[in-house]
Symmetry: C2
Subunit: 114 residues, 2 copies
Amino acid sequence: MKNADAPEERCCAPMGDAVLSNDEADFLAYAFAALADPIRLRIFSIIATEGEVCSCNLEGPLGRSQPTISHHTSKLASAGLIIGERRGRWMWWRVNEARVGALASALTLGIHQR
Amino acid sequence: MKNADAPEERCCAPMGDAVLSNDEADFLAYAFAALADPIRLRIFSIIATEGEVCSCNLEGPLGRSQPTISHHTSKLASAGLIIGERRGRWMWWRVNEARVGALASALTLGIHQR
DNA sequence: ACGCTATATTGATAGTTGTCAATATGAAGA
DNA sequence: TCTTCATATTGACAACTATCAATATAGCGT
């Protein structure tokens, strides 16, 4: 099935499909998925405005349990959007400017290319 | 339960939680969720590079069924990232530059504020 | 009106994810 | 070492999502 013969010269050019590789798409999708949750966006926003925030200051304002906050911060971190540093008992988070900037410019430039 | 009394003046400032409203967070999360899928990213990338693409030219290169492509394009469209226009039998898609630009700058500026 | 073709919708299913209670880990102080 | 506190992990469950086959809708040409 599919349409192995569908798009001939029908409406537009055949278009080289070397636009965005599978790996690049997976990589970017993973980062955007980290931003695809309201609670994580608010966490990110708080960290961005405060500069540095420890986890204990996130549970209260966001109204989520401690395990849930931990889950979200680690998801943002594993996507490279924030960076965590343990200082004593506390976990401090800051934004990974470089990574976020790269993501944003990928967006404006149409996703593809670095 | 929760921690109604947890973050006193413990590690950092109490932080006004007027950072990102629930509604704004939902709105932005919805847009990022549209970008949180590899197939949709490749669709977006193709549209961005080609300028205008009709749906029939997406099924082939992406190796997904017609209903699946339709599902993805409508998800991107309902997030405002692409704009569709029916011309005869064909559906033409183009990038919503304004919306994408706004998303990208929200990212670099730390999500919050417009 | 009829058939052909491009796109949309429906229904079903497997996989993923946000959430919390319970529990574990790890760091600091006595 | 024992206790306390901040964070991480586990297990379970409800909600959501990507996918396709089947079917419906809609535009064009004859």
